[in-house]
Structure formats: structure tokens, C-alpha cells
Symmetry: C2
Subunit: 299 residues, 2 copies
Amino acid sequence: MNETTLNAFLSECRARIEKTLERLLPAADAPPPRLHQAMRYAVLGGGKRVRPTLAYAAARAVGMQPEKVDTAAAALEMIHVYSLIHDDLPAMDDDDLRRGRPSCHRAFDEATAILAGDALQTHAFQVLATDPKFPGDAAMRTAMIGNLARAAGSVGMAGGQALDLESEGKELDLVMLENIHIHKTGALIRSAINLGALTCPGLAAERTEALDHYAKCIGLAFQIQDDLLDVEGNTAVIGKHSGADAKHHKATYPSLMGIGPAHEAAADLVEDALKSLESFSDDANPLRWIARYIISRDR
Amino acid sequence: MNETTLNAFLSECRARIEKTLERLLPAADAPPPRLHQAMRYAVLGGGKRVRPTLAYAAARAVGMQPEKVDTAAAALEMIHVYSLIHDDLPAMDDDDLRRGRPSCHRAFDEATAILAGDALQTHAFQVLATDPKFPGDAAMRTAMIGNLARAAGSVGMAGGQALDLESEGKELDLVMLENIHIHKTGALIRSAINLGALTCPGLAAERTEALDHYAKCIGLAFQIQDDLLDVEGNTAVIGKHSGADAKHHKATYPSLMGIGPAHEAAADLVEDALKSLESFSDDANPLRWIARYIISRDR
């Protein structure tokens, strides 16, 4: 797969997810308008759409058409954005800036931001349960809802954020740090790949497992790279204040391992991810490219 | 149905929901323990269990056994409690006391309370999607998830809370006040009745509609009574500070209509609710009794 084909794939994912989010989000003038505007502001304000893209790429890797995963991709992004809104709140990470713009509670107010996050989470499950364009049966809907909920909840993403908050000001070792990231960011990335795989009924178990292993590896690599960008990046490019982790005295991969070894760890994880795709056809090339992109990105 | 039978019904509902919540909530020592403890503190700290009881009563009214509605009843209560946790936050209603104990963010901390609410919402959908004891097929699961999500989201409960916050300090008329309550509390009460009815596959449409009308009436009556208790009740009995609405200069039924007419409006709604059950057998007696209880309760 050459770069032109890959860029075409990414453009198609981007177009599909933006269109699907636009279709599935409540209109800005639907009552209550301020809440709906806050939800749309947070969701439609850019973002890399990493999780939707992973879901599309996983569906392609198992031979499924992109329209099979539109609803799930939108639900993943709604869950991700809800978590960003809440993580940015003053009682949490207290960030003013998100995706290069004021964070939701700064653009609106704290109460609206709490409710917008709450309602986005609800909406993610609602669209999986009710979207008439969902291209599967009720069993596929419940499988996806169950997978996404487990990934988002107290033993997944929300649990990881709780661990992260508890860890502030404490001495962490690498095992503890990894445990945070496996939950805080890794769980939802895994779910993105799982949901893509779930579009293919009767997929062989070893395929599902290979994709899940890929997801675990790139999830961790993604977080290491995020930590590195916080140290090495600049605010204009990454869309939030760089050095925020150091300001909060947070343990990060670079702070625990050093910058060089953190780069190496991320690269090793990407190699491991690629190995798990060895038996897959060229249909898995988007997944392969994404794995490599994770450690080369500058934002 | 005499009082002994009714009390037996309520006791059975209470025992079932407490047992089901205990079964479905993560253990207090499961990692991350602090988050799970906060979730359990908020859910298992008493409460009237109105929504679960309504779901059990609606299931009984359509001839279904209570075990058919256990999972849905627990999911309803998790959604309700998540909304209480978030409504109590300083950026929202800023309440220190809930169910006679410190509210979740006072007993733990604000970040943990935000996450506990978030994770409880997720868990509600997770148990509907995955509980192995759920006594229905995937179609019933998705129907319930869709109904509950719509009731909880931006055009339901969360939307109602947004409208309520926007209304503070503004002059409201009765239509606007009613619009707030239809969403903020009414939507989830309707969902409780709907979920009870959904346990019966193939239920006649006029039964579903009659139950839904019942739910709309008692939902509003419940809120009027809540407003009246805030004016007339005392803190020790109702488990939160009385007069809180007046302190926040909130529009309420008694403040807009006067106390007497508010009592009358609630009584009329209960009569209307009872009328919609006229064609139902004695199996609907718990619903009838609950309707009457709503306006006689002192807490």
C-alpha cells in the first residue's frame, strides 16, 4: 500500500466519521440548545479521530465494508470526547485548552460541560442501540454495547483516570504507570479494534485475538508517544499546552525511563503489533500504517 | 389489595433491588478500589428505589414475574444515582447532603465523584447488554438500552438538568417549569414503566400506551410533591436540607401556584394516572397504590 492509497483511506475515514457524527448528534437548535451546542462544540471541534480510524481499519482487515462500522466509530468518538470534556474539568486535570480551542467548560461553563459529557456518553450507547442505519442485528448491537461499556467504565477508561488522579504526587514505577495507561487510554483503543472486528460475524477466534494483541501494543505505544509529545512538542502543534504533565508533576514514560528509552519502548511495541498482523492480507495495511504513524506523529 | 399485601410487594421489590445491585456492582476491593467504593457508597446508601419499584410494578401489571425486570431495575437505579452524584457537585446544585449522608463529592472528592457518576452510567448500559441473568433476548436488551438511553440523555434527564440550571434566577411560568420536570425527573420515571412493560414481548400497543400515560402523570405528580416537601418537610425526614430550593431562588410549583393549588394539581394527576389503569386487572394494584403513595409521602 503506497502513501497515496493510505492517504485516500485516511481521507475516507475522516469524511465518513465527520458525516456520521453530524448525522447522529442532536441538532444545535434542538432543545435544550445550549447543551446540544456544547456537545457539538466538543465533538465536532477537530480531533485526530484515532479511535474511529482504528475501527474502520480493523473492519477492513477482516474484509468488511466501512459502512458496517460507521455507527460504532461514532459511538467510540462520543465516548472519547465525553472523557476529554470531563478530564479537562477544574476538579480533574484543569485544562483550559483542547484541540487548540478553549476546553468545553471554558467555552461554556462547568455545569454545561459536566452535562455535555454525561449526555455524550448516553448518546454513544443510544446510537448503538437504536441507529436505524446500524448494519447488524440486535446480537451485534449488544455485543458492541457490552464491549464499549466495559472499555469505558470503572475497569477501563474511567478506572484508568481514577488511578491517574490517585497517582499524582506519588512515586510511580513503570508497572504502575503502565497499569494506568492500559486502562485510561488503552481500553478504548482496544475497543475500537474489537468493534471493527465485531462487524464480521463468525470471525475466527485467532483473528480476533491477533487484532486484540495489535490493539494492546499500539494503545501503549500511543500513550508513550503522547508523553513524549508533552515533553518534546510545542503548544501550537499539539493543540494543548506542552509541559502540562511536568507542571502537574505527573509520572510519564520519559520521566521514568528517559526520552531515548521511551522512544525505543514505543518502537518495540509497534514492531510487536505488526508481528501480530503477519497472517493478515493487504487489507490490514491501514492497521500496519497506523501502527507506524503512532510513533512518527508530531501531534 | 390490602395494606399487608402491598407492604409485602414493596418489601419484595426492596429485597430484590438491593440484592441485584449488590450482585451487579463491582466489588469494593476490585481495582481501582476508591472509585468502586464511591460507586457503591452512592448506590447502596439507601434511597427510596422509586424507579426500580415502578419497573417491578409495571412488569407485574403486564403479568410478568419480578425476575424478568431485575437487571433493568438495577440499571435504572444506577442511572438515577449517577445523576444525583453529578447534580450534587459544586458546579451544579452544590449539595452537601444526600439521603441523610454526605453527598459523594463530600464523602470522597470532586474528581472521584465525577468519575463515579460517569462509571455508574456506563455500568447501567453494561449490565443491560451483558448480564448473563438477563431474562430476554438481544432484541429485548437493545429495546431496553435504547429506551433508557433516550430517557437519560440530552432530550431526557440530562437535558432537563440543563434546562433547570439555565432557569436559575429567571422568571419561569408553569409551562416552562413543567417542561423542566418532564425531562429532569419525568423521563426516567417513564422509562421505569416502559422497561417494566418491555419485559412482556408482544404486549398490546394500547397497554403500553396506557402505562406510558400513567407514567407521565405520576412523574409530574412526584415532582410537585418533591417541591412541596422542600417547602413543608424537615431535613431529618427528607434526608436533605429543606428549603434548598428557596435558598437557590428556584421556581417551584408551590412558588408559582401556591401550596394549596400545588397539592390539588398533584392529586388531579394521580387521578388521571389511576384512570389510565381502569382496564387492568388487580395485577396493576401496586401501580395504583404507588400513584396514591406519591402524594401522601412525607419524604
